[in-house]
Amino acid sequence: LSGRGDLYTNHWAVRIAGGAQQADRIAAKYGFRNLGQIGSLEDQYHFHHSRVVRRTAFSLKGLHSFIHMDPKVDWAQQQVVKTRVKR
């Protein structure tokens, strides 16, 4: 990974109020699968989109991108791979 910019994955962090069912509905609407709440962070959900390529050097656009504009979505972030080295 060294020497290059961000690497985008097909995972999203999404904050949606209204509970898990609401999150499921919104996930399905844009082709995501809701993998559940992120630990104990309230209203923060882990979405996965199997039709977006797993790793790309840029953020692919498509139907799924509209989730960022959904009024019920407070916040959404496509996950990038972080380089972590062992000490």
Partner: protein, 807 residues
């Protein structure tokens, strides 16, 4: 149990015990390096019992002979594989050995003839596998948020690249996970995060650019070599709190630990070694005092760590008297001092936060020059909620635009004149991003008073030619002061004097034996005095008006001829009135009030000692089943459910037969299928799906009842669609494992799907999206078919289904 009376006599039968030079001095022909005092802490009986530590890394070999005994599945998870088994992925290049090496340092079992002895060799050890895959903000946040009410200490020995040009740290979710862990973890006491300070084996970096070690929520640990030298790999920075031994030059001894594939190794190096050592030491301290908050632990580290023989040119004493360095923080950790202080610790006053934005007069930073920006603060003394009177962490949040970030050095100078380097030049960093509200944290001002002028000094010294027209600009900087409004030192000193009393260097010096002195006295005659005598004088009159002129005493005489004798109505503390001789005689040493001179005649004890009601003697440590009551200075019995308690009868640290510890309360050991309901104080039944549980709800199962399987955090009778039932190592019940993506029914891992989700077709037991792709032309499909690409999920999106269906 080995006999602890003579530390050098301790010997465990673990094959590498003799190599553990950093714990004992058994190896007579080389220098003793046991200043971390781990053995002394064991000698006090602290080995990490009932404390839970987990390692965030690339997995943990839970069946390693030295880890299996202490392995705790409830403190483990595989975030990369999304299941409960953190066993590392084995590959030819042995990439995933790091977590197992860290785990051994913390809790390798003792005296089991395998490998080594962990620092907390009776602690629970778990592993969170999260480095062996794409590490994202979600992965880190999930890892840090696993079972915060069960796991006490999270240890991490990884971080951003150390290439000297990266500035990176926790993402938004991970920051939230830190804050949540601090606020709610350990039932409100705060999770403990221990982090290896920012080395990584390359040069030219500065660990202030590692956002994990620069967080106030993490305890950043540095390394020194056996001889107290700076290891070649070490990065310096102002957020380092303490140091442990680690590997050094080829001729210096190394740390030994467990290795993957059930082996041992001394190849574990760098600060990756140091974080787990401190995690183990904190486990000992938590065993000594369960009530320590996350800030108490940091105060303990600051108070007990010290420079010893660590060599650094930048050691300085801050205005609160703490010795501190950018290399080693407050110095080498001291396990014995930690557990001793922990037993007497009183929670520090609440944390206050006071922040202030600097008013900028000049903003430009000219190449080759420096810019100073100062601000004056009262420490928010006007607001009782924010007032910081005594500092803990100080953060400078800086927004700088700069054409070549690596040319910058920054220092922060406190009102007391202490200087802390927040950033050093980084010659490899040619980024033009500047610093966007990056938070530089320092612990160098710990204990100082914040009132006065703070100065941020920015030095710009180009390492290459730069375009002079592109100016650097300090846009904004904010100082954030963390600390307490009251002086935690007073809190310390109260204990300090106690501890000094508790540890009396030579009893003879302070308390003489009374009989010996007094028998030597002779009385002398005085010349005639005719005035009134003191009221305490007896019937033989006096030769002066004061009580020390009496010829005999109405009540008692105090003192000796040599030191001067006087008459008193009653004897002072440490003495009792002997009715026969009418003299104040000393009590037995340590007694404050007594009825006689023998050890069993004490009625109350001097400060720091406690009356053992069993034999009326004064002792500094109460017998088993008793606690030291500070007010009455007596050893009082623990609650009958406790075998050991702390400060109060019902603050238990170990329980009687039939009871188990819940927090610091001993609750009846409930039989399987029940749990102790704290509010109702009875054993209440678990949910029918649980075999053991921590509460009423379906999510509170620890183990599932017979006939149930664990799915995510619940127990179910049958796995939901998309899951298959499989074995779970270390658990008495099966677990529902997730089928492959888009699969509704499968029989096991990998391509075993028997039914797909809508919109997918089953092809060679894997689910392929069946979207028709009307733009696939014959040639393309032929290519796909001839190369059998359809069998690889990645290409399945090229509409293989259509091609196949068309034969």
């Amino acid at each position: 149990h080995a006999s602890f009376s003579d530390p050098n006599a301790i010997h465990f039968n673990d094959p590498k015990w003799s190599n553990m030079w950093y714990i004992h001095c058994n190896n007579k022909n080389s220098r003793c390096r046991s200043e971390m005092n781990i053995l002394a802490a064991w000698q006090r009986g602290y080995t990490g019992k009932n404390v839970v530590v987990t390692i965030l890394d690339d997995g943990i070999e839970r069946n390693h002979p030295d880890l299996a005994q202490n392995y705790d599945p409830v403190a483990s998870y595989d975030v990369n594989g999304n299941d409960h088994d953190p066993t590392p992925r084995y590959d030819t290049r042995s990439e995933n050995i790091h977590g197992t090496r860290c785990a051994g340092e913390v809790a390798a079992a003792a005296n089991n003839s395998h490998c080594i002895v962990g620092i907390a060799y009776n602690a629970h050890i778990g592993g969170i596998r999260m480095l062996d895959g794409d590490v994202t903000d979600i992965v880190e946040a999930k890892s840090l948020g696993i079972r915060p009410d069960y796991i006490h200490i999270y240890s991490a020995s990884w971080g951003p690249k150390d290439d000297g040009k990266t500035v990176d740290g926790p993402g938004l979710l991970t920051k939230q996970a830190f804050e949540q862990g601090i606020r709610k973890g350990r039932k409100g006491l705060g999770s403990i995060f221990v982090w290896a300070s920012g080395n990584g084996g390359r040069q030219g970096d500065h660990c202030s650019c590692d956002g994990y070690t620069s967080s106030i929520y993490t305890i950043s640990i540095s390394s020194t070599t056996e001889n107290g030298n700076k290891p070649w790999y070490l990065e310096v920075c102002s957020s380092i709190m303490a140091t442990t031994y680690s590997s050094g030059e080829y001729n210096e001894r190394r740390i030994v630990t467990t290795d993957a594939r059930q082996r041992c190794t001394d190849a574990h190096t760098g600060t990756s070694v140091s974080a787990p050592i401190v995690a183990g030491i904190i486990a000992l301290a938590l065993e000594a005092n369960r009530l320590l908050t996350w800030r108490d632990v940091q105060h303990l580290v600051v108070k007990t760590s010290r420079p010893v023989h660590l060599k650094a040119e930048d050691w300085k004493t801050n205005a609160a008297g703490h010795r501190v360095s950018h290399h080693y923080g407050f110095g080498l950790v001291d396990a014995d001092a930690m557990v001793l202080e922990a037993t007497k610790w009183r929670t520090v006053p609440p944390q206050h936060t006071c922040s202030q934005i600097a008013e900028l007069h000049t903003r430009h930073i000219f190449a080759g020059q420096s810019l100073n920006s100062s601000l004056t603060t009262s420490g928010c003394s006007g607001d009782t909620e924010q007032h910081v009177g005594y500092l803990e962490h100080v953060v400078a949040k800086v927004l700088i635009v700069h054409p070549r970030r690596g040319d910058l050095e920054m220092n922060l100078i406190s009102p007391s004149g202490t200087r802390s380097q927040l950033l050093a030049k980084r010659v490899y960093d040619s980024s033009n991003e500047g610093f966007r509200n990056w938070e530089f944290m320092t612990v160098h001002f710990w204990g100082e008073r914040p009132e006065g002028m703070w100065t941020l000094e920015i030095i710009d010294s180009p390492s290459k030619l730069r375009n002079p027209e592109v100016l650097a600009n300090l846009k904004e900087w904010t100082i954030i002061l963390y600390g307490t409004s009251q002086n935690p030192q007073q809190h310390y000193s109260a204990q300090q004097s106690q501890s000094r009393m508790l540890v009396v260097p030579s009893p003879e010096l302070i308390l003489e034996e009374p009989e010996v002195q007094e028998e030597e006295e002779e009385e002398k005659e005085e010349e005639e005095y005719t005035g009134l005598c003191h009221s305490e004088c007896g019937d033989q009159g006096c030769d002066g008006p004061d009580a020390d002129h009496c010829l005999n005493c109405a009540h008692f005489s105090l003192g000796s001829l040599k030191s001067g004798r006087t008459c008193v109505s009653h004897c002072p503390p440490g003495h009792y009135g002997d009715i026969v001789s009418h003299r104040c005689k000393r009590c037995y040493k340590g007694c404050d009030q007594c009825v006689g001179r023998s050890a069993g005649d004490c009625l109350s004890c001097q400060r720091g000692l406690y009356l053992n009601t069993l034999n009326s003697s004064c002792i500094n440590t109460c017998p088993l089943g008793h606690f030291a009551d500070e007010d009455q200075r007596q050893c009082l019995k623990c609650h009958e459910t406790c075998t050991m308690c702390l400060r109060y009868a019902d603050r238990c640290t170990s329980c009687s037969e039939g009871y188990s510890l819940a927090g610091m309360t001993c609750v009846p050991e409930c039989t399987n299928g029940t749990f102790f309901h704290l509010e109702e104080m009875t054993c209440s039944p678990c949910h029918s799906s649980c075999r053991t549980c921590t509460g009423l709800g379906k999510e509170d199962c620890i183990q599932c009842a017979k006939g149930y399987l664990q799915q995510e955090w619940r127990c179910v009778q049958t796995c939901a669609s998309g899951y298959y039932a499989g074995e779970a190592a270390g658990l008495p019940h099966k677990i529902c494992h997730r089928c492959e993506d888009n699969c509704l029914c499968c029989s096991g891992p990998g391509p075993t799907c028997t039914k797909c989700k809508a919109g997918y077709s089953l092809i060679s037991r894997t689910c392929i999206v069946n979207a028709s792709c009307n733009n696939a032309d014959e040639v393309f499909c032929e290519m796909v078919k001839s190369n059998r690409l359809c069998e690889r999920t990645f290409y399945s999106q090229f509409c293989c289904r259509t091609c196949l269906m068309n034969g």
